[in-house]
Symmetry: C2
Subunit: 408 residues, 2 copies
């Protein structure tokens, strides 16, 4: 008999029939003897409908009022799910973020959870009641309604699991787990039974199709056992995201091949190789609120070095504009860049204890004539930047080179 | 510089354009120097949409969860109106019933207001802010969301006006005031500048097209000045519903002709004329939750009397069934009834000090050959039950007989 937090996303509750399906699934868990807290998102499309309505009134809707409005999406779903649960003969009670008292800061539309009052939920659980909580929302100290930003329902689920010390937080979505890579690119990609939090974070590009990355960080921080499952399949254990590395002692060296084609690269050539130069380049980029992903600087020679980094493609032109005067100021030779690139990453905690992973990856790409433009490595990830047109090919050959299609 | 509570109904806020119109009207009052609290309903159709959605899940939706869901309708409107007000350069802040803390009892879907916390609203008003409050909803002692039942937004408006001791509560609707009778029946019916609370209550059938009767009772109890206005016309002072009779010293004897064709009559003939007999007849009717409107009993003779009353037509058959054994038990001669009747009422506080109103009414009907089946009078109302087919004719001739088409 476990305490389980389940979270169902917008497509899982997208129609009355789907809500009834969710209720049947919750009922099975309840009747198996578990205690259940269920977090739901707004019905799919509802949040966008509300935002569009707001924009008909105000081009840039006031954040406080937008939160008041958008939070109604989940408020409707919690009530509907409770009704469906009652129709199956279960006791159920719904709570908005404010009613639970999910206390957040006051950063409307992107608030962060500060604390969660668990008393009411505990009382209901003790009364054999399924507790249904609106995801994505909270309330600030002054009583204003806040939202956690897109995908925030995952974070609500994890935060409730942490507060209640739940045995597991199950995230139900439209995919049945985390895969070794995107099955649309590699048809024999395999679902992973387990993956570590660190791997999940490094696989952001794969993982974000499944889970909001912020909720994974949150789960890692509070040691919440996270499981990703399909809400459309009856069976299947999904993928367990675990913080205990030893649980997967038997695992393969590599967990997956991640990729990303949303980035652009920028290189400043002939940069004087002296202390503080990285800050002089990236400081103005950060001031302009542009996120930098990979950063590569090689050893210099003749007092000069080349400095490269990647940014989101949407920020590429802006970053180039910012760097022109910077390059002049630091007396760099030239600014180059390109937005027809892709980043491909080989991820796995196993590589910590296995040599030769990098050389296998580089050889595999070389054999296909794929030129590597940038390389960056962490303890559990090797990332390369290549020409965008080779991306799918690179993912396929790396997936095969590390034997990911075979069961672990 | 007055403190004014304005209430806008569902059609007044039925689209983004209409919400912008409401904002412009509020802005005019604000810029004229007044302090404003605005109560809004859900956009027209929204409440019905939500109820229909609930019924797709549960044939008889759970009242607590229905309240959670249906209350989102107003929550969307308050945010949209605030956005529209900000777009006009005003400061505005929205509050749900729970956020104001409109404390109610726990009777979900038909809760009654217990108290209103005015502190937050006062603070905002002092900061030159328009306060926008969700109508129709509140919160109970345990923090559950409640709703006041259909039309409850009027009650919210009046209750806020009472709590804040507002100078006036303005109810904006799709008609521009209270008329001497329904203009669809008498085209030259005239809008009343003022009407007393008592008259308004007696004119329920006319008034309910304009205001929820419960809110009128509430206003009378707390001495709130109520004004009914059109939200679609730029000018016009509407109808002021006042508790001060002397304000209308100059008024005509009669204020209006009300009517109602939703009733049925039941007569028990040959009832033994003894104490307790009325209770023996109406007790079982009340026990069956059937509301009784008119009750008429004339003096008896030979120890027998006839006892008549009217009920809603929907309850007619049920009431007849209940009375059959009752009539046998009390040894009455016969139970008769009919549901093809109409009630027509002449209403006016002026009749208190004017003789001959009743005889004028009866003569007028007699001249048209309209037979009167029942008569019931109060201090400010004379009601007659007639054959339904004469209803419009009766209203027209009475309206003319009392000179209601002429300006007071």
């Amino acid at each position: 008999m476990a305490l389980i937090v389940q979270k169902y996303g917008g497509t899982s509750v997208g129609s009355p029939d789907r809500i009834k399906n969710v209720a049947r699934r919750v009922a099975r868990w309840k009747r198996a003897g578990h205690r259940l807290v269920v977090v739901v998102s707004a019905m799919s499309g509802e949040t966008n409908r509300l935002i569009a309505l707001a924009k008909e009134i105000q081009a840039h809707p006031d954040p406080r009022e937008l939160d008041v409005m958008v939070s109604t999406g989940e408020q409707v779903t919690i009530a509907l799910l409770c009704m469906a649960l009652m129709d199956l003969g279960l006791k159920a009670r719904s709570y908005t973020g404010a009613q639970v008292r999910i206390l957040t800061d006051s950063a409307h539309t992107r608030a962060r959870i500060v604390s969660i009052e668990e008393r009411t939920m505990r009382r209901d659980l003790d009364e054999d009641c399924v507790v249904v909580v609106a995801g994505f929302q909270g309330v600030d100290e002054a009583g204003n309604i806040t939202t956690l930003g897109r995908g925030g329902s995952d974070t609500t689920g994890v935060a409730l699991a942490a507060a209640l010390k739940a045995d597991e937080c199950q995230i139900y979505t439209d995919v049945d787990g985390v895969y070794t890579t995107d099955p649309r690119i590699v048809p024999d990609a395999r679902r992973l039974d387990t993956i570590t939090f660190e791997e999940m974070l490094e696989m952001a590009s794969l993982g974000s199709r499944v889970l909001q990355i912020r909720s994974v960080e949150f789960a890692g921080k509070y040691k919440v056992k996270l499981r990703v499952l399909s809400s459309f399949e009856e069976e299947g254990a999904g993928t367990l995201i675990t913080f205990e590395e030893d649980e997967k002692m038997e695992q393969a060296t590599i967990s997956g091949i991640a990729f990303n084609r949303d980035e652009a690269k920028i290189t400043i050539l002939g940069v004087p190789d002296r202390p503080g130069i990285a800050y002089q380049i990236l400081g103005p980029i950060g001031d302009a609120d542009i996120d930098v992903d990979m950063i590569v600087q090689n050893v210099g020679h003749d007092g000069l070095t080349d400095f490269s980094f990647t940014v989101h493609r949407n920020d590429y032109q802006k970053a180039l504009e910012i760097l022109k005067p910077v390059a002049q100021h630091i007396k760099a030779r030239e600014v180059q860049g390109g937005d027809k690139i892709a980043k491909v990453s080989v991820v796995g905690v196993g590589m910590r204890s296995h040599a030769g992973i990098a050389s296998t990856a580089f050889r595999t790409l070389a054999e296909e004539g794929i030129n590597i433009q940038m390389i960056s490595t962490s303890e559990i990830k090797i990332s390369v930047v290549i020409d965008e047109k080779y991306m799918e090919l690179a993912v396929r050959v790396l997936h095969k080179a590390f034997g990911l299609e075979q069961p672990a």
